[in-house]
Symmetry: C2
Subunit: 616 residues, 2 copies
């Protein structure tokens, strides 16, 4: 394609963006029009992609970090023949794959975007997969907005990509000067961006993003740049080509005022078809294809041993890594605490140190899973909250993501509340389709970790800092959605439900209550989501009273998970929820459990109060 044809293609992408948004009655055509020439040149001359075979391992990866420019992306698919005109005009309509922001419902989309600052760090993950794991020559192209350069997650990505010398990663920055509500901090000062990004070790190129020859040269320069990622910082105009909206404030996120006029101004509807360059012919070397079993080397712990579940997690993960070469591990500079260091020692090629950059870490995991790997992401439970928005987005991506949060609850002791994950169950239960697991002993932990490695979807495992007694045999099964009834009799007067660190407290309380002549059922609800509805309903038929006890705030944790088993015709039991009601300070683990009112004594007291009360 010559320069004139490239310009024509750019105009077509604009026209189709305008048309799609007009048909939808909403959308972001102006944010699409600024980047149209950048994408036209990429599609026609540099992107290596077989749209007929989106799973071709040689395909490049194109991510719209500025996901709101979806009309442009769909216009590219249209030009590539992957989406027909009829479908293009279903944009944003019920049932259409062409959603307001891209999602992997489209086979050419790796991850959902639309939360700004996500696409570039995902690109880092894809580039790491290509470079370190797959040894494939694909390139990763990320179209970024200028507004989103305000997001810290972008700078986590610039830092990590520079540090890893990811020359297979290119950020294309569409500096159209205007954010949603006005000018960005730096307007058209592309040098301000170049200084910053360059300081992080990137090669930078400043160009006029509407000069197709300059754009073409920039992409060629990318191919010739070794040892550094490249940022193409392109000065562009929002709404370029349509006078009514060009470089205008107040034109964000809405169709152009008169679509027919705009299309005419852009030279009318075109039907240019583009065949992207073919991907390199590669023999896939995906470790993903070499996964068998779940780790025969998984350690067995003896009854009564005192072992921290974080330690059992670390051991199990390393063993699972033996059997399953698609398992990769990401940690946020705390692998000696989360205990992923065992995996790091045994599988250094599949261990990724992300330093203290949780957003980049989770986003990279999204990139890695898009290439078929099974990422386990680990840091303190409290600090996973730092990346919550990206976990939210992971659900929209229908991603396969395993999160492991250590140092949960007040039971960590002296470090105090800043280090305590006390809301993690609430956060991860509120992720669409998630699984939330909270083991109490080492054998249970190991079994759950092995299960996570083969399950699909978003899973969260909560581990504990201090040692807890081993209460299960090494070959016990712990299905997702299950529970364990640890004490029961037909004469049970109350059901105590615990998980993790409170299971031992519940057992102690049950023993004391039994000695007082009060038989208590004890359930270990290790699968917090989904819950074992059947077992809980069965218990409610025997005992009217439930006590739940959790090392978590009262909202959204174990107690609420238990209640979720009822309703819809099953009236909930009379439940007393023991949870952390006070803001903790520093203290020993034992003191913390006591002060928070979640130790054995508190359970006993709650049962006593319940049984002396007449339920309403």
């Amino acid at each position: 394609m010559d320069e004139n044809q490239l310009r024509e293609l750019g105009q077509q992408l604009r026209v189709d963006s305008v048309r799609a948004a007009a048909a939808a009655g909403s959308g972001h055509p102006t944010s699409s029009m600024s980047a149209a020439d950048l994408m036209a040149v990429l599609l026609a001359r540099h992107l290596r992609y077989d749209f007929g075979e989106p799973s071709n391992p040689g395909n490049d990866h194109l991510i719209f970090s500025k996901g709101h420019a979806s009309p442009l992306l769909y216009a590219m698919y249209h030009a590539a023949g992957a989406v027909d005109d009829r479908e293009l005009l279903t944009f944003r309509k019920l049932g259409s794959r062409l959603e307001g922001h891209p999602t992997p419902r489209l086979p050419w989309v790796d991850v959902a975007t639309g939360s700004l600052g996500l696409g570039l760090p995902v690109g880092v993950g894809l580039a790491l997969a290509g470079r370190r794991l797959e040894h494939l020559p694909y390139r990763v192209w990320v179209l970024c907005g200028d507004s989103e350069l305000a997001e810290g997650s972008m700078w986590e990505a610039f830092e990590h990509a520079g540090y890893e010398h990811l020359d297979n990663l290119t950020a294309i920055i569409d500096v159209n000067r205007l954010g949603q509500r006005g000018e960005t901090r730096h307007g058209w000062d592309t040098a301000a961006y170049a200084r910053r990004i360059g300081a992080f070790g990137w090669h930078t190129i400043e160009i006029d993003g509407h000069d197709v020859a300059a754009v073409d040269r920039a992409y060629a320069e990318v191919a010739g740049t070794a040892g550094q990622p490249t940022a193409i910082i392109a000065r562009t105009m929002k709404g370029r080509g349509v006078a009514a909206v060009q470089d205008a404030e107040g034109a964000h996120g809405k169709p152009v005022p008169d679509a027919d006029e705009a299309v005419a101004e852009l030279g009318g509807v075109r039907d240019i078809r583009v065949t992207a360059r073919p991907p390199a012919e590669v023999a896939p070397r995906r470790a993903a294809d070499r996964a068998n079993g779940t780790g025969s080397r998984i350690k067995r712990y003896g009854s009564g041993e005192m072992v921290a579940t974080r330690a059992a997690f670390g051991e199990a993960l390393a063993a699972v890594g033996d059997a399953r070469e698609n398992v990769v591990v990401l940690d946020g500079e705390v692998s000696d605490s989360t205990k992923t260091d065992a995996f790091a020692r045994e599988h250094p090629d599949r261990f990724f140190e992300f330093y203290i950059a949780e957003q980049q870490m989770v986003a990279a995991a999204l990139g890695l899973q898009a290439r078929g790997f099974v990422p386990f992401v680990s840091t303190f439970a409290a600090f996973l909250s730092r990346a919550y928005d990206f976990v939210r987005m992971a659900a929209i991506s229908r991603a396969n993501l395993k999160l492991v949060g250590s140092h949960a609850g007040v039971s960590i002791g002296e470090d105090g509340p800043s280090q305590m994950g006390l809301e993690d169950l609430a956060l991860f239960r509120a992720v669409h389709g998630s699984v939330v697991l909270y083991p109490c002993d080492a054998n249970q932990t190991a079994a759950l970790v092995a299960g996570m490695a083969t399950a699909q979807g978003i899973g969260y495992l909560r581990t504990t800092r201090g040692p807890t007694p081993v209460i299960y045999p090494a070959d016990e099964k712990f299905p997702v959605g299950g529970s364990k009834v640890l004490r029961s009799s037909p004469s049970d007067r109350v059901t105590i439900i615990a998980a993790g660190v409170t299971v031992a407290e519940a057992l102690r309380a049950a023993d004391a209550l039994a000695a007082d002549g009060i038989p208590a059922r004890v359930i270990d609800l290790y699968s917090v989501k989904p819950v074992d509805t059947e077992t809980l309903r069965e218990a409610a038929e025997i005992t009217e009273h439930f006590v739940t006890v959790e090392d978590h705030w009262p909202e959204g944790g174990l107690g609420d998970a238990v209640l979720a088993a009822f309703g819809n015709g099953y009236r909930p039991p009379n439940l007393t929820k023991l949870a952390v009601h006070i803001m903790p300070g520093s203290a020993t683990p034992e003191e913390q459990l006591h002060m928070a009112g979640i130790d054995a004594k508190a359970i006993e007291a709650a049962v006593g109060a319940m049984l002396s009360t007449v339920g309403s």
Copy 2:
């Protein structure tokens, strides 16, 4: 103090850090020892602070962004005579103010730290308060770790402080080379940090952090630097002064092996007392002192008008701003969507544009509230999740923070799930001591906003994108913890509980059910936390069946809030929870409510199913 005395003071800070951690049996003495000389010189020669009057408006602000170096901070308080030796040795013990990480339980601490990457962006907020609001000469000093420079939130802060030319802000970066589990990305390459930070418009100074003369000169240079914040990038040694731990891996977060030997090696216990430079004598000009009423100009909406609650929020906030000069507003580059633009127009001096940097935005609010301002922080509900870790930390700070999330739920329509806040109620309910409000009409919104401005603590308000009918008169009262019974009769057979956008659906359903001879109670549960326990229990006495309906995932939202009113002797009702069970795509608001199963038809169907079922 001469250089020798400064060195002696540094040794004292080390000794006291070692002693405190030894007494506690845990803590971070080695991370304290690296920064001891930096802090000795600051305390003795540059910090302007009256430890006897922590609320003196002329006091400088000192934030330990590396909060784990708390032993050093407490050793400084000890040297300043603010904490005695007996208290110093209560470090990390039950009941002590000297927690593992600093909190405002200590009157000299502005905000809790311990989640890395928080202190510097809080410092930006304090510096903005001093510069733009209070016009006070205090300086803000932030001690940062090198590891935490991996956090994107730090770069949001570097960007914002550079952009705002905050020359009253100084970052002191303790480059001790070692993170928790090994070397940082850049080790002792202070030039790597200087390049990056300098590119963001900061003045940078690289020094040997153990050369007290160089440290002193650097602080003097800060005072002479106008128009730019300064970063002092200090090469230091972790565990400096004690051979057993100096520059050693594996010595993070634990007492030194032999405290007595270490103290001897450091020259023994000293009792140097320091009086910091006095604060400038200033007439406080705190807008905080000029707050009366809650806005007589608050708009009144007529019954039946269709008004988006986000619009009513914006109008009310501007009006509240008239009456209360301590109210400040922060937005993340979406003020035309959240509708804080009305406040921005009327009170530009108290409006802060943070661009798309939610972590910096929330952290700045923490800084502003530490100076007595009442910050309203607003962006899309979905994107507030980006700053969740800092909201978590705000609770530990006992902060006064008002969060407002717009575009909640599937009802936003075509933009799709990336823009939908569907987990915000779960997230903000799980914040210790929080208030969560979800208005359904414009008058209710206005009243709740006015109430938020005078309440203490963390409040969250959820607003809706599309218009909803005005159903309340303009002078109706909406206390926190209240609810409104919109339909009721003694013969009610079911209670429908809604909030926000589902209230209109509930009323429609109730009308249809009434027409079918099924009287239904309808409760508007605008106060999602705390809930109106009394009204809900009363309803449960009349109707065995509850239907809750919410534009939110099933976990942690309205339905769970209703159940929280029961238990502890009050058996919960038989509850059917209608919530968003599917992953939405693009569609119109009406289609979204229908697909999610939370519209009037879905409520009617649920009631029908309930009443035909025999409850267990």
